[in-house]
């Protein structure tokens, strides 16, 4: 799988390259600035891009802007955005086109190599990978919401993991239950929130995220 990586801190970039290569990714370009990233994305058309929000020369949200521009040029281009902080505002912008293939994670998540690589694969496959902190913020805003209040504690756990972008199998694994049980929880959640059921994992995740973000 071909990856373009953009990260301005040399140590972190180097570490990420080694991590990704250890898991058999093909890092076709590892760049350190916004313009280089834009060039690499346009030229190499990678399977997935891993991008730091803050990049030189402006040291503002150059990386995010590059990623958004690249996705406008190539709809659905998988992009995993990394940052020292997560903002719901940025998550909204990434999810706005509703086409999936986006990830938004704290840089700390790299510490857990397995999980991180899993997130990269998920995004490359058109899925989503939202940081638990983004989801926690979304859920915190919905505490007064009547349909949300009807969820059981277990269903809340499931919706959290689902919103992060995990498949039924992964959720089952995480909660140590059977996939059948998870499927039952998810259909309950969809019924309680009044969402149209869908068999497609990615579309289901996007529906949940859109629901949480509403209002």
């Amino acid at each position: 799988m071909r990856v373009v990586l953009a990260e301005d801190l040399f140590l972190l970039r180097d570490g990420l390259v080694r991590l990704l290569e250890a898991y058999d990714f093909d890092v076709v370009a590892a760049v350190g600035s916004g313009p280089e990233l834009a060039g690499a994305l346009a030229e190499l058309k990678p399977d997935v891009a891993v991008v730091d929000v803050r990049l030189p020369p402006s040291f503002t949200d150059e990386g995010l802007q590059c990623a958004l521009a690249a996705r406008r040029a190539t709809p659905g281009l998988p992009v995993l955005v990394l940052s020292q902080h997560v903002e719901q505002l940025y998550a909204q912008e990434l999810l706005a086109d509703g086409s999936g293939g986006v990830g938004y994670l704290l840089k700390d998540r790299v510490f857990d190599a397995e999980q991180f690589v899993d997130a990269v694969r998920r995004v490359a496959g058109g899925g989503t990978a939202m940081d638990p902190q983004v989801i926690a913020q979304l859920l915190a805003r919905r505490t007064r919401d009547a349909p949300m209040a009807r969820l059981t504690p277990r269903e809340r756990e499931v919706i959290e993991l689902m919103a992060e972008g995990r498949s039924n199998a992964a959720i089952a694994d995480r909660l140590v239950v059977t996939e059948r049980a998870v499927a039952k929880h998810t259909s309950n959640i969809f019924a309680k929130l009044g969402l149209a059921p869908s068999d497609d994992d990615n579309r289901r995740v996007l529906a949940v995220l859109a629901y949480l973000d509403r209002g």
Partner: protein, 422 residues
């Protein structure tokens, strides 16, 4: 519309002429008599009241000047001592007599009851020529002339119907002139008042120096407190976590061959410590300078802040570009504190934030539908915000009647730079 404002100006001039004359004469007499009677003792009792009444009258005129003609007359008075009892009374009297503004007020009263009155009475007098002319033309000239009266309508000698008709026409012309010139004359009266009520240059500088001294002290205090807080947070937080991590890693080094299982557990603990340290550093950074503010500027930073609030916050932003960084930061923390207050104390269900830049002023208006009763003088949070804004000549105004709604306005003078191309 113009006619209506002009007619308003006529009515206001009439009010100023009549009420202004009465109160100016009365207050001047009272004040001067009181001062003259100070050696006799009676004046000591009455003078402070009389002089304060004069100030009140002058302030009333300042208000009219601003509201009716947009003429701003600064208030020059030094704050009066507030001690109670006879001693406080005497102190106040001395302060009043020493304040040059008191004597300027008295001077103004003299001018107001003469030149000020003349300016103010002109528009209504011209206007009233019209009804009088019409009344004459309608036949009132007859009894006057028949009784041997010698009526002059301005420069017209009324001798018969023709001259009375002319008087009506002339009266109409006068009324038009009166109405058209009324706004300008009203303004001229206020400008005249400003010449006398305006604080001297020296006093203005004095006020400015005092304000700068206060805000500088606040700014220094504030940054010292911030540094202490950051030091404490680092010391108790990230620093301690790094020490723990280092210790865990040291033990791992010793254990890795003897007891790999335990070494692995310790490594996991070290990783958890590093994650904790990062979380703490992140929170600390957010408190110093929020990353979105650095990356996107004030508008998006406030939008991101709104998304973090546990209740719906509507944000409208109309900023042509980015304000200087320190101003952005001060405005951001002001809005943040106000929002926190609205959530914590007001029991609001909806909050609106409106950010815009107009007339060289960055303005943030936060309204909530909570229970009201917020007071910048009582809440330490809001007071801190006000002090921090002071360093930029910014102000914080709170309007929060009991029962709500609460409206908090933050204003900071600053220029907004257009965003760089690209």
């Amino acid at each position: 519309m113009r006619i209506r404002t002009a007619l308003h100006a006529v009515a206001r001039s009439l009010w100023l002429a009549l009420w202004g004359l009465v109160s100016s004469v009365l207050l001047f007499t009272l004040a001067v008599c009181s001062i003259a009677l100070i050696p006799a003792g009676v004046g000591v009792l009455t003078a402070p009241y009389a002089l304060k009444a004069v100030r009140h009258h002058a302030n009333q005129r300042r208000l009219y000047a601003l509201e009716w003609s947009g003429v701003s007359i600064p208030v020059p008075y030094r704050p009066l001592p507030e001690r109670g009892g006879i001693a406080g009374h005497v102190e106040r009297l001395t302060a009043l007599l020493k304040d040059r503004a008191t004597w300027r007020d008295l001077q103004w009263l003299l001018v107001d009851m003469t030149a000020g009155f003349a300016l103010a009475i002109l528009p209504p007098a011209l206007f009233l020529y019209f009804p009088w002319g019409v009344v004459l033309a309608c036949g009132v000239w007859r009894p006057i002339v028949e009784a041997g009266g010698n009526e002059w309508f301005a420069f017209l000698h009324i001798t018969g119907q023709t001259s009375a008709n002319l008087a009506a026409v002339l009266g109409a012309a006068f009324a038009v002139i009166g109405v058209l010139t009324a706004p300008a004359l009203l303004r001229a009266g206020f400008v005249l008042a400003r010449q006398l009520l305006h604080p001297g240059h020296e006093r203005e500088l004095e006020q400015r120096v005092q304000r700068l001294t206060e805000t500088r002290e606040d700014a220094v205090d504030h940054s010292a407190a911030e540094l202490r807080r950051i030091e404490r947070d680092l010391h108790d937080g990230a620093q301690a976590r790094l020490v723990a991590m280092g210790m865990s890693l040291g033990t791992v080094e010793a254990l890795i061959e003897k007891d790999p299982a335990r070494a692995k557990r310790l490594l996991a603990a070290a990783r958890a410590d590093s994650a904790e340290a990062l979380t703490e550093l992140r929170d600390l950074v957010r408190g110093i300078h929020p990353p979105v503010l650095a990356e996107r500027g004030l508008g998006d930073a406030v939008r991101a802040l709104a998304l973090r609030m546990p209740l719906p916050v509507e944000v409208t932003v109309d900023l042509p570009g980015r304000a200087p960084e320190p101003v952005e930061s001060a405005a951001y923390f002001a809005v943040s504190e106000i929002l926190t207050n609205a959530v914590k104390h007001a029991g609001a269900t909806l909050v609106r934030v409106d950010l815009h830049h107009a007339d060289g002023m960055l303005r943030a208006v936060v309204t909530d539908d909570g229970r009201g009763g917020a007071d910048a003088a009582l809440g330490s949070g809001l007071r801190g915000v006000g002090r921090r804004l002071g360093a930029f000549d910014g102000v914080l105004a709170v309007s929060s009647p009991a029962g709500g709604p609460t409206l908090v306005t933050v204003e900071v003078p600053c220029a907004v730079a257009a965003p760089a191309a690209g």
